[in-house]
C-alpha cells in the first residue's frame, strides 16, 4: 500500500502524547491530516484540527470520503476503532499500535477483507512517500534518511527500515516508497503484498526488501519475486539470533523450516534475489543491478 500526497488521513487517538508529536510531524511534512478521533474530546480542536467521536462522524463532517486511517490507540481499543473505520468506508488503514491481541487482529483483518480495505500492520512504523506524505512514526522529514527517488523499500521493522533508507540516501539513491509492514505475527499487508504493490508502482525501479527470521512471509514473497523483472536486493535480520522463544510448537512445524534464516535465504536466492549478509552493502549491490 502506498499513500499519495493528495489523500486524506484521519488519526485515531490523535490526542495521545505520541500521536500528537507524530500528527504534527505528518502535517508539517504535507500529509493531508483532516482531523482525529477521541470520543472523550469530540467537538474540541487539537493541533488546530477537529476531533470527532467516530470515523463515521469524521466522514460525515468532511467533504468527500476519508482515504486513510492512522490508528494510534491503546491495544484494547484497536479492534472497535478499526471496525469503526471500516464501517465508515475508509479503505486504507495503517495500525501503529503494538501488543494487540492476535485474535482481535484476525477479527478485523477478516472484516477488512470483506470490505475490500487494505490494512498495514499492526505494529508498523508506517509508510512514507518521500516528497509527498507519510503516515506513521517514520522520520520522513529527515533529509539524510528520506528523499524522493526510485527505490522501493519494504521492512517489518521501523528502526531497521530507517537505517536502510539512510544507507540508500547517503549513497545517492532516493526512495519511491517506504512500506513498513509491521512486526506482529499476523499482519494485513504481507511482504509479498508489498512487493506486488512496488512492482506495480511506475516510479519504483528496484526494491530493497528487509526481512526478519520467523514466519513464512519472505518465502511467499520469493514466489512472487520469480515473476518480477525489477531487481530485488534483500537483507534478512536475525542470522545471529538464538532460536525464537515465542514460536509455538505446532506453529513452528506448520511452517516446516520456513522461519529459519537459512530457509528464507535459500528461498529468496532460488528466486533470483540477492541476499546480503549486512545491510550496509545494499546500495553498492543495487547500483550493480541497476547498471547491469
Amino acid at each position: 500500500m502506498i499513500v499519495r500526497g493528495n489523500e486524506t488521513v484521519l488519526v485515531h487517538g490523535i490526542t495521545g502524547t505520541q500521536a500528537t508529536f507524530w500528527s504534527d510531524k505528518m502535517k508539517e511534512y504535507g500529509t493531508k491530516v483532516v482531523g482525529g478521533l477521541n470520543p472523550k474530546k469530540a467537538g474540541t480542536e487539537h493541533l488546530g484540527l477537529p476531533v470527532w467521536a467516530s470515523a463515521k462522524d469524521a466522514v460525515a463532517a468532511s467533504d468527500g470520503a476519508i482515504d486513510c486511517s492512522c490508528v494510534i490507540v491503546p491495544p484494547a481499543a484497536v479492534k472497535p476503532s478499526v471496525m469503526d473505520a471500516l464501517d465508515a468506508g475508509i479503505k486504507k488503514i495503517v495500525i501503529l499500535t503494538e501488543h494487540i491481541p492476535v485474535h482481535d487482529t484476525m477479527y478485523f483483518l477478516s472484516a477488512a477483507r470483506e470490505a475490500h480495505a487494505s490494512v498495514i500492520g499492526p505494529n508498523t512504523a508506517g509508510i512514507v512517500t518521500p516528497g509527498e506524505c507519510f503516515v506513521g512514526f517514520m522520520p520522513a522529514f529527515n533529509e539524510r534518511v528520506f528523499k524522493p527517488g526510485n527505490i522501493g523499500v519494504i521492512s517489518r521493522s521501523g528502526s531497521l527500515g530507517t537505517l536502510v533508507c539512510l544507507n540508500l540516501v547517503q549513497a545517492g539513491f532516493g526512495i519511491s516508497a517506504f512500506v513498513g509492514i509491521g512486526g506482529d505475527p499476523v499482519i494485513g499487508t504481507t511482504t509479498k503484498d508489498a512487493l506486488k504493490c512496488l512492482d506495480e508502482d511506475p516510479t519504483t525501479e528496484a526494491v530493497a526488501m528487509v526481512g526478519e527470521i520467523g514466519g513464512g512471509m519472505e518465502e511467499a514473497a520469493a514466489e512472487y519475486a520469480k515473476t518480477m523483472t525489477k531487481p530485488i536486493v534483500s537483507f534478512i535480520a536475525g542470522a545471529a539470533s538464538p532460536p525464537g522463544k515465542k514460536m509455538g510448537h505446532a506453529g513452528a512445524i506448520v511452517m516446516g523450516d520456513k522461519g529459519s534464516y537459512a530457509g528464507k535465504k535459500d528461498a529468496l536466492e532460488a528466486a533470483g534475489v540477492t541476499v546480503l549478509s549486512t545491510p550496509s552493502t545494499l546500495p553498492d549491490v543495487l547500483k550493480e543491478h541497476l547498471s547491469a
Binding site: E98, Y107, V145, S159, G183, G238, A240, G251, V254
Partner: protein
C-alpha cells in the same frame, strides 16, 4: 505464555471435552494419596517441553506404592533443562486409537487454523513428515467461527471412531482456543477409548502474551519463562533483554535493528553479549538499559546503536547520558546514531562526553569488535 498439561487440561474440561481424572502432586506422598483415590494411574512430569515420555518422565503405576516410587524418581529429574517440580497423577484409560488435533494462529491465512490427523501419538513434526496426506488443515474465519458443515467436509470418517463424538470434540477444542485467546491449543494424543468415546490425554496451551491482561482468571497458572537474573530485571523494567554468550554488549532500539546489530557483530568476527532493545514505548528507558547491559560481567565493550523512527534518538541518548556518571562505564563504548532526533542526540553526546558517533553502524561495530580482540 505456555501452560503445562495440568494447567491446560482444565480449559478443555471447561469447554466440555473429556479428560481423565487426575491430581497434581509435588511429593511422592501426595502422588500415592491421589493414586489411592483413582486407582491404576500414569505419573507424568510437568515441564513446559515435549518428549517427556522419551526422557523417562512418564510412567505407569499399578498401585499407590508404585505411584509414590515413580513420583519420587521423576521429581528428581531434569528434562530439557527444566527441573521437574510436580507430577500429574492421572487415571489410566484403555487406548483404542490415537489422533491429533490442534488450533493455532496462522500467519499465512491470517486466521485460526485447525489441524487434525487420524495418526496421533507422535510429534506433529513426525505426523507432517510421515503422514502428510493424513493431516487435515482447515482455515477458519474467526468472525464466523467453526461451523459443523465445514468440520463434516474437512474431517474424514475413521474406522472405529464415533464420528459425531469426534466432531463435537473438535468444535469444543475450537471454542477452548477462541475463548482463551490461545496462540496454540493442542491435544496430542486425542484418544478414542474402547467405548468409542473421545478423550484428551494431553494438552498444550500457549496464551497470546498480548492478551494476558484480559485473562486474569489464568494469571499464575502459566509457566513463567526461564529467565536469568538480568533477563528478569529487564522484564520488570519493561524491555526485552536476552543474555547471550559473547562479550560485545548491545544497546539498540527496535527488534529488527537490534537483531541486525547482532548479525553485524557476528559478521565482523565478534560475539554479542546480549539482545536489548528499547524501541517502541520503551525508548525512555535508556538509563535502566545502560545499567542492565553493563551489569553482565562478560561485557568487555559496548555498542550503542540507535536509529530513530518512533524511538527518538535524542530521548534514548539523553537517558543513557543521564545514567552515565552513576553507572560509570569501565568498558569502551562505541556509538552510532541516526534517524529521528539525531542532531540533538549528537550534540548531547559531544557536550557530555566530547565524542562523536561513528559515521555508520558498520564502523561502530568493527571498532567494538576490534576492542575485545
Amino acid at each position: 505464555m505456555n501452560f503445562e498439561e495440568h494447567a491446560a487440561k482444565p480449559l478443555l474440561r471447561a469447554a466440555g471435552i473429556a479428560v481423565p481424572d487426575s491430581g497434581l502432586a509435588r511429593t511422592a506422598d501426595e502422588a500415592a494419596e491421589i493414586a489411592r483415590k483413582i486407582g491404576p494411574c500414569v505419573v507424568k512430569a510437568q515441564v513446559p517441553t515435549g518428549k517427556r515420555g522419551k526422557a523417562g518422565g512418564i510412567a505407569l503405576a499399578a498401585s499407590p506404592e508404585d505411584a509414590a516410587g515413580e513420583a519420587a524418581r521423576i521429581l528428581g529429574m531434569e528434562i530439557a533443562g527444566f527441573p521437574v517440580r510436580s507430577v500429574l497423577v492421572e487415571a489410566q484409560v484403555p487406548i483404542a486409537k490415537e489422533l491429533y488435533a490442534a488450533v493455532l494462529n496462522d500467519s499465512d491465512t491470517k486466521g485460526p487454523l485447525l489441524l487434525f490427523s487420524a495418526e496421533g501419538g507422535m510429534d506433529i513434526e513426525e505426523i507432517a513428515a510421515n503422514h502428510p496426506d493424513a493431516l487435515v488443515r482447515l482455515p477458519i474465519d474467526i468472525r464466523a467461527g467453526l461451523s459443523r458443515e465445514r468440520l463434516e467436509d474437512a474431517v474424514p470418517a475413521i474406522d472405529g471412531v464415533d464420528r459425531a463424538a469426534l466432531l463435537d470434540v473438535l468444535a469444543k477444542l475450537y471454542e477452548a482456543y477462541a475463548s482463551n485467546d490461545a496462540e496454540l491449543m493442542e491435544i496430542n494424543p486425542l484418544i478414542v477409548i474402547e467405548s468409542g468415546d473421545v478423550v484428551a490425554l494431553d494438552c498444550k496451551f500457549t496464551l497470546d502474551d498480548s492478551a494476558v491482561c484480559r485473562h486474569e482468571e489464568l494469571a499464575g497458572s502459566g509457566t513463567p519463562d526461564k529467565l536469568t537474573e538480568l533477563e528478569q530485571r529487564g522484564q520488570e523494567i519493561g524491555f526485552k533483554y536476552i543474555e547471550l554468550d559473547g562479550n560485545v554488549g548491545v544497546l539498540s532500539n527496535g527488534a529488527g535493528l537490534t537483531m541486525t546489530t547482532m548479525d553485524a557483530i557476528s559478521h565482523y568476527g565478534g560475539e554479542p553479549a546480549n539482545f536489548l532493545e528499547i524501541g517502541g514505548n520503551a525508548f525512555t528507558l535508556g538509563k535502566q538499559a545502560l545499567e542492565v547491559v553493563l551489569d553482565n560481567p562478560r561485557v568487555e565493550s559496548l555498542l550503542i546503536n540507535f536509529c530513530g523512527a518512533i524511538a527518538r534518538t535524542d530521548v534514548m541518548t539523553g537517558g543513557v547520558l543521564e545514567a552515565w556518571d552513576e553507572v560509570d562505564p569501565k568498558v569502551p563504548v562505541f556509538w552510532a546514531i541516526s534517524g529521528t532526533g539525531e542532531d540533538e542526540a549528537r550534540a548531547m553526546l559531544k557536550d557530555k562526553l566530547g565524542v562523536e558517533p561513528y559515521p555508520t553502524m558498520d564502523d561502530a561495530v568493527k571498532a567494538a569488535v576490534e576492542a575485545v580482540r
